[in-house]
Amino acid sequence: MPDTKTGPRDALLLLGCPQVPIQTSVALYLASKLRKQGITTVITGNRAARTNIEVADPDRHYIGEVIDIDRCIAQLAEKKRDFHFCFSFIHNDAGLSYAATVNAISPAAQILIIFGEHYQEVAGSVEFPAEIIAVNAVHNPMPLKAKIDEVFPWVVSNL
């Protein structure tokens, strides 16, 4: 893994397929928490995931830059950009593949937010160092919000 990034703190929020309803609301909630800590956020995902986020926050109270996931991976792989933190939203095998890729090409501290009905199976497939937040949540964001509230102070002060 490359050396740790220096300078003002920033975080990448790596979105998965938006088919699980809570992803958008929890991503906006996390972006708000990070912004209050003075941590700049960049959100990446496919077109559907990005559009969900941008429609939900049209005046950009919580979100900042939003970029295409292929472009983001290219910038990380080519060392044109990096982040202090990467929060990956994962509910399927593809989401885990993207998180593993970022782990391999970026020095960012990895925090995996694993949810959805197969959360245990997905969490059990993680084969790289990361902080894991895994919750059985599909439609109701509150269990995942509660878990994020619990670990967030430790994550932003220790990673």
């Binding site: 979105l15 998965g16 397929c17 088919q19 995902g45 496919n46 559907a48 995931a49 996931i69 292929d70 991976i73 290219a74 990380l76 792989a77 399927n92 095998d93 593809a94 989401g95 885990l96 593949s97 993207y98 593993a100 890729t101 391999a104 090409i105 084969e127 790289f128």
Partner: protein, 92 residues
């Protein structure tokens, strides 16, 4: 060499897991290589969980291709030039 979406390709596995693609390559293609996630081929950076395998079969290149909503595809791309290039440099 062009962008993958615009190139002729055959889908070997559809909506697979990264493990299924890895196991398929290991069991079907003796000429395979490990590459790092983010390895650039056909103008795309490969997505995957290490060890990430690609293979060559004659003049064809076999790679995993992941989309957030559709899982991982294992695809075969006929490209003698790329197959030759991979044989020569044996990527890591």
């Amino acid at each position: 060499m062009g962008c993958l979406e615009s190139m002729k390709h055959e889908i070997i596995l559809r909506d697979a897991s990264f493990k299924e693609c890895r196991e398929y390559i290991l069991s079907h293609f003796p000429e395979h290589f490990v590459v790092l996630p983010g390895y650039k081929i056909f103008e795309k950076h490969l997505i995957g969980v290490p060890p990430l395998y690609i293979a060559i079969d004659g003049d064809d290149v076999i790679i995993p291709y992941t989309k957030p909503c559709y899982g991982t595809f294992l695809i075969r791309v006929p490209d003698p030039e790329m197959a030759s290039e991979l044989r020569q440099k044996k990527p890591k």
